[in-house]
Amino acid sequence: MKQTFTRRELLRLMMAGGGAAVLAACGGQSGQPATQATQAPAVVSQPGSKVKITYWGSFSGNLGEAEQAMVKSFNESQNEVEVEYQFQGSYEETAQKFTAALQANTTPDVILLSDVWWFGFYLAGAIAALDDLAKQVNLDFNDYEPVLLNEGVRKGVHYWIPFARSTPLFYYNKNIWAEAGLPDRAPETWAEFTEWAPKLVKSDGSRAAFGHPNGASYIAWLFQGVVWQFGGQYSLPDFTMTMTDPNTLRAAQFYQDTVVKNKWAILSPNLNQDFLGGAIASMMASTGALAGIQANATFPVGVGFLPKETNFGCPTGGAGLAVVSRAPAEKQLAAMKYIAFATSTTNAGVWARSTGYMPVRISTKQTTEMVEFFNKNPNFKTAVDQLPKTRAQDAARVFVRNGDQIIGKGLERIIVNGEAPSSVFAAVNDELTQGAKPILEDLKAREG
C-alpha cells in the first residue's frame, strides 16, 4: 500500500457515508402508528391442531415453580392451546425485553407486567383490549376483587388482569417480640412502634428493630402506604404532584428519623434475609414473600396490618397479565383462555396458597380449600383481610415513567444522606412534574 490514501482521509470518507445515513434515518422510523398493530391478522389454523402461544413471566425460585406448575396444568387440562412459558427475569427486565421485542417484532402473546409497567405499554397501544376476548371465553369480571381489577381498566375497557397481586404487610419476629415483652401483635400505630422499637434493638448494633429495603422502586411502594397513613400523597389523580404537601413531608421526616435520629431502623440490601437471620426484628414487605418467609424462618413469624398514623393506608402492588395487541386474533383468544384459567376461582386459590399473593377472585375465598388454608395459616388470612382496605397507588409512582425510581431515590437521599425532606422532595416534585408531561400528552392522544 502506497501513501496515496491516508488514514485520515479514509476516516473522512467513512464519516461522510455515515452522515448521509443519519439523514436518511431522520425520514424513516417515525410515522408508523403503533395502533396499527392492534388490527390483528387472522391465522388460519388446521382444525384439531393446537394453537401455540408464548408466555413471558418474571418469577424465579418457588414463585417460578408455582408459575410453571400453573402453565403445566393448563396444558394438561385441554388440547386446544399449548402455552410455552419463558422466564424473562425481573419485572423490569421483562418490560425491557418486551420493549425490545416490540421494536424487533418478536413479541410474545401473553405477558406478565408489573404495576409500574403495564400503563406505558397501554399508552403505546402494545397491549390489547380484553373485553371481547373475555366474552368469548365467558370470563366474569364481576367476580374479580374490584380494587385489583379496576386498576387495569381505562375508559371502561379492561387491559390488565390481576394475577400476582400483593399488598405490603407488617412482618415481625415473634421470638424477639416475646423477648422484649411486647404483646403478640403488629403495632397499631407508628407512634406505638416508636415506643416499642428501642426494646427490640441490640445495643452492639447486631440487631435493628425495623428494616427498610434499599431498592428504589420497592421502598417507594412501601412508602406509598406510609404517606397515606400520614395524610399525604404522591400526586393527585390529574397528575398534579404533591410531594411537598406538609403531610407527605411529615411522612418523609418520620422515615428519616427511624434511621438517622432514632437509629432503630436500618436500610438493608437483603431485607428478607436480614429478617430471616434476625438482624431486623420487623419489616414491611410484600404479601408475595409470605410463603417463602414462613418456609425458611427458624422462628414463628407474625404478621399484621400496616400501622396507622392519621389514617390507615395500604397500596396494592404486584403484577397482572396482558395480551399483546400484535398477536394474531387466534393467539389472542388462546392467551385469554390461559388468563381465564390462571385466574379461575380454583386456580387463583392454588396460586395464592403456593405463593402468598392475593386470591384475585372473590369466590376463591369461599372455596373449602381456601377456608381450610386460612385456618391453618392465620397469617395469610390477615393478608387477605387487609385487601378491602387497600387502594391503587398514586399516579406519580405507577404512571409516570420511572416515577418509582425518582421517588425511591429521593427517599434514599433523605434516609441515607440525611438531607432535608423539604428540599429533596421539592426537587422530586419538579422531576415528577417534568416526567408527567409526555405521559399527559400521550394520555390525551390515547383517550382524548
Binding site: 490514501f5 455515515g18 410515522g31 403503533a34 395502533t35 406505558g120 405499554f121 428504589a216 436500610l267 409526555p438
Partner: protein
C-alpha cells in the same frame, strides 16, 4: 488524493500495480469495514441523532428537539455529580491499580517459593465473571456476617455498612474493581520487568547505585511504556465499568456510585429516555476520545521506549 508522490511522471506499469494494490486493500479491509460500519460506526452516528430526539422506545414518533436534551442534562446538578463520581472512581481505581500492581509485580519478580502459584492466584480474578465477583464481595462486605466484619472484630471494630453507607459505598466499589483488575496490571508489569536488560542493572551496580537508585533510574524508566499502556487501557475500561456496580450497589445508595455508564443504562433502560441516554453516550464518547488524544499526544512523548 492530495498527497506527496515521489515520482512526477508515473510509469503505466506502476499505475496498474497501484491499482491492483488498491483492489487488494479494499478486499482486505472490506469485510471488516462492513462489519464495523454496521455494528460500530452506524450505531455511533445514529446515537448522535437519538440524542436530539424525544423518544421512549415505544412511541410511534420521535419528535426532533435539537439541543434540548443537552441543555437539560448540563443544567442538572445531578449530571455534574455523576461526572465527578466517575472521575473519582476512575482516578482511584486506575491509581491504585497502577501503584499496587507495580508493587505486586516487583514482589512476584523476586525468586520466591511458589512464585508461579502466587502469580496465578493474583491473576485469577481477571478471568472471573464480574457479576460473580460482585455477588461474592457483597457477602464479604455484609456488616453482620461478612468476612470483613469478622476480621475487624478481632481488633474490636465493627464493619461499616459498606454498600448502604453513602461514605463507604464508593470505596467498596473501588476495592472490588482494583482487586478484580490488578492481576492484569501485574502480568503486564512482569513482562515489562523481564524485558529490562540485565546489563543496565549491572552497569548501575558498577557505578555504585543502591537498590533504590537502581529502581528509580533503571526499573521505572524501563517500565514507563508499560505504565503508559496500562494507564490508557485502565482508564478506558474504568469508564466502562458496569457489571460490578450493577450487582454491588445498583448505583446507590442515593446515586453515590452512579457513574456515566451506569447513568446511561438507567436513562436508557430503566427510564426509557432514549434522548437523554443518547446525550450521556455522546458525552462519554467525547470524554474518552479527548482522553485518548491527550494521552497519545502528551504522555507518549515523555515515555522512554526501551
Amino acid at each position: 488524493m492530495a498527497t506527496y508522490s515521489p515520482h512526477q511522471e508515473r510509469h503505466p506499469n506502476m499505475l496498474r500495480r497501484e491499482h491492483r494494490e488498491w483492489l487488494l486493500f479494499v478486499l482486505f479491509i472490506g469485510p471488516n469495514l462492513f462489519l464495523f460500519s454496521v455494528f460500530t460506526y452506524w450505531p455511533l452516528l445514529y446515537n448522535v441523532y437519538l440524542s436530539m430526539v424525544r423518544w421512549d422506545f415505544l412511541r410511534p414518533t420521535m419528535p426532533f428537539v435539537g439541543l434540548q436534551n443537552y441543555i437539560a442534562a448540563f443544567s442538572d446538578p445531578r449530571f455534574w455529580n455523576i461526572i465527578w463520581q466517575t472521575a473519582t472512581f476512575t482516578i482511584w481505581s486506575v491509581g491504585l491499580t497502577l501503584v499496587l500492581g507495580l508493587l505486586l509485580a516487583l514482589l512476584l519478580n523476586q525468586r520466591l517459593l511458589y512464585r508461579n502459584t502466587a502469580r496465578a492466584v493474583v491473576f485469577a480474578p481477571v478471568v472471573m465473571s464480574g457479576a460473580v465477583v460482585a455477588v461474592v464481595w457483597s457477602y464479604i462486605f455484609d456488616p453482620r456476617y461478612g468476612l470483613i466484619d469478622q476480621l475487624l472484630s478481632f481488633v474490636g471494630l465493627r464493619s461499616p455498612n459498606w454498600l448502604v453507607d453513602p461514605f463507604w459505598a464508593m470505596p467498596a466499589v473501588i476495592i472490588v474493581y482494583v482487586w478484580k483488575n490488578i492481576g492484569y496490571a501485574v502480568v503486564i508489569y512482569l513482562a515489562g520487568l523481564q524485558n529490562i536488560p540485565r546489563e543496565l542493572y549491572d552497569a548501575a551496580r558498577v557505578d555504585g547505585a543502591g537498590a533504590w537508585e537502581r529502581f528509580w533510574h533503571v526499573t521505572l524508566p524501563g517500565l514507563s511504556p508499560i505504565a503508559f499502556f496500562l494507564s490508557v487501557t485502565s482508564i478506558l475500561s474504568c469508564f466502562q465499568a458496569f457489571d460490578l456496580i450493577r450487582v454491588l450497589t445498583n448505583g446507590g445508595p442515593a446515586d453515590v456510585t452512579t457513574t456515566l455508564v451506569f447513568h446511561l443504562y438507567e436513562l436508557g433502560f430503566v427510564s426509557y429516555d432514549a434522548g437523554k441516554a443518547g446525550v450521556v453516550a455522546v458525552v462519554l464518547f467525547l470524554i474518552m476520545l479527548a482522553l485518548t488524544i491527550v494521552q497519545i499526544r502528551y504522555v507518549e512523548r515523555q515515555v522512554t521506549y526501551g
